[in-house]
Amino acid sequence: MRTPGGDPPVLERDDLLAELRSYLDEASEGRGMMAFVAGEAGIGKTTLVRTLRQDLGDAVKVLWGACDPLSTPRPLSPLLDIAADRDSGISDVMTEGADPYDLFGALVAHLKSGVRPTMVVVEDLHWADQATLDFIRYVGRRVPETKSLVVATFRDDEIGPDHPLRPVLGDLASSRDWVRRLKLPPLSERALEVLAGDREVDVVDLHRITGGNAFFVTEILAGDESLPASVSDAVLARVNRLDTDARRVVEVTSIAPRALEVDYAVRLAGTDLAAAERSVHAGVVIGEGRFLRFRHELARSAVEESMLPARRIDFHRRMVDLLEDEVEPDLARLAHHAVRTGDAYLVHRFAPKAADQAAARGAHRQAAEFLEAAVTHAGGVSPGVEAELRMKLAWELFIINRPEVASEHAAAAVDLHRPSGDRIALGRALSARARIDWNLSPDEARATIQEAISVLLDEPPGQPLAYAYYQAAHFNMLARNHDLAIEFCGKCIETAESVGATDEREIGVLTLGTTELVTGDVDRGIELLLGVIERARTRDDYRRRLVALSMLGTGGGEARRYPDAARWLEEAIGLARGFDEDYTASYSTAWLARIAFEIGDWDRAASLAATVDHQGAVICRLTADGALARVRVRRGDPGAVELLEELRHLGEGQELQHRWPTTAGRAELAWLRGEMAKVEATARPDFERALNTDSPWAKGEMGFWMWRAGGIDEPPEGAAEPWARHIAGDWEAAIRAWQALGCPYEEAMARADSGTEENLRSALDIFQRLGARPAADWTRQLMRELGIEQVPPRPREATRVRPAMLTARQMEVLGLVTEGLTDAEIAERLFISPKTAGHHVSAILRKLGVRSRTEAAAAALKMGIASGSG
């Protein structure tokens, strides 16, 4: 069946079509591209892409998928469409419960392999479910390695500032030159004149009513009478001209969000195929294969809203009956209609199952919506069932970053379980609630997990008890309470082993390793975590491997095991990028910035901090911008005060481990400005908090600033070795310890405080090499106060001017090149990846205008850059 007369001609789209064709040319050369096509509803986005597809013929393989206009869309709906094509590379992978990333990977592999270029069309992204947005992000990042053009359409006037599509657009469209955005402009009056043809229409009026919207124009021109007041009127006028049976077909079609099977339409309407044909011939709906659909969503909603609610509900109910008889009913579709009947029984039959399916596919927003519908209609179900629904809903809400609402549902679930006597269910609910509440109020979470443990101890031990122990251990690790964390880790592992709960055992060991790393025996912590990584590798469990690697990297950074920590962090970032685990990649990069700051590589710290995408996570910002702010403090650069103040507000209510480094930065700034009273006032609160933890480095550095301000004379118990030595006045030991760790700034502070002329001179050298002007000025002043003669003046900066425009880092690398080091050796020496070292070397060769490392070394010697001078 086809609409008589065909579609109206495509006008004023030649430029956009040419643009898209040029992208396809690029793609066929192996430089894949992505185009976002934006425009209001009815402006002609679909028509544009369909026209392109027709023009292309067989030269290009086309895969086509669309998002559902369901209030709760089917997860991965566009990929379901695409998988229906046997030649999509994913039809076999697209199975119930398939991991979404396996699917994405299979499709991208297919896009890389083809001989012909492929155009992948994803329509109506403004309706996309979360998993589909993940797909767009995934394919958008990898498309340049393929021979394909991905075209994604969306209504730009329907995505508000909080729309989940926004961050995806922001991520992809900025700074990636293979991603383009096209916008469809409205049709001009001239185009309307062509469309009106022989009809006598006031084109200026028509343009005013329709705003040049192609769909509106077509609908209005299809009417016989004079111009109607609105497009909705135009659509309904056409429907009303149909006979009763054909009109009924149109009405039932309107309750299906996208398209309706012709035979379902006929059965629901209680009529015959002839009536369906009449509705198509009148041009009100379009016949496409075995489906009926509206030309546009605007027409569908106009018809749907014109029906009495009772009739709509009746249609939805009968739709559920029809779908249920299918061999493999589509759960999301069933749940969509079930929710619209408002019938609690039907909602509960389908929504929870549809939610499970959505969650398994990574569509957590959709899962939450189905569960919300189920909870709203929970009147007739047992408290136990309602509690389980609320618990699941709480988790899904927590995952999609709505912790407050999640916490309310978790609390309600706990209350529902209390009177039931099911201690295990109550204990599990309490554990989950503690996890959800942790970021909102750690103290309450601690009390909740304690209650969970005591409730679960009433029953024989099982997996829920092991999990509760893990949770308690984790909280105490985060708060740096060593003994409690170790105790709960032990109980978790012991319980898990006795009941065969493998997962809980592994996360118990992971937490034990992390605890040892940050508050105990560092080497034992590393050994335990490496064990977790090895076992995860053999099981192909990338998530566990990633979590353990990032714990090793961040915990190793906190313990100042720099070279190893940097290597683990680089590995974590690589792994995280491969699986689009953006948060972990960001947090690990933030830690690389902190390490670069601590080892005195401040250029690198600042540029790393600038690349950290905070992902809305406070601790990413505190870590990355904390490093940046401290670089400014130590260089005497502007912008330090403002940034530190911002971070102070941001850090309120966060764990001490994420706050004390910036507090130390504020104390240091006050000291460098000579405001001694402010140093102690700034340092004291977090110093006292640190004393209540087992964190050696927090006690050490906060203790150091208290000592500097005259607030304490003795090192606090449990302070990290180098700080403790410094505070105790054991200068030589402190200097050696800082040197061994690789912290030049701290080493120079110890040298300066020692008061010997030799140490003061080398402190000044170090500060000047770092570019630490305020600390260098302080050292010079100390030297004058001590009566040391010939205090070196502020450096003749020009001595630092580098030949051949090499950067400081490149000078350093060149020094190592002249020593004959390979990229891998340079990488190891500078805590960077071999790839980065390689980039530096090629930049140096380019700038020196030489072709080999040997020539570079020769040039370096000629320019007087002595070997190893970096």
């Binding site: 250029d603 670089v631 260089r635 005497g636 650069d637 502007p638 912008g639 900066e797 020009a798 001595t799």
Partner: protein, 94 residues
């Protein structure tokens, strides 16, 4: 975008000849600045040509430092400044 005064020391004096070579030096600096979104507004040079005070617009002090590094220019200090125009206050005094 914040405005900064960047102080630099040139022990051998800053000599930029008024010829195509000098123009090329300035263009190179401007080109390097552009990669860091940094704009060199103008500079004041001490009589002995050893010190310069350069007015720059840039997103962050780090960008100013990176841009200086690209052009091998020394940086003594960076101060964030605001424009103050005394004639702005003339009307207010009336």
């Amino acid at each position: 975008m914040p405005r900064y005064i960047v102080e630099r020391t040139f022990p051998d004096g800053l000599e930029i000849p008024t010829n195509p070579d000098g123009a090329q030096v300035c263009l190179t600096v401007v080109g390097n600045n552009a990669t860091e979104q940094v704009t060199w507004v103008q500079s004041f040079v001490s009589a002995d040509k050893e010190k310069t005070f350069c007015i720059y617009d840039g997103p962050t002090p780090e960008a100013i430092r990176r841009a200086a590094g690209l052009s091998s220019l020394p940086v003594d200090s960076i101060t964030e400044v605001r424009v103050l125009d005394p004639y702005f206050y003339v009307g207010a005094a009336r």
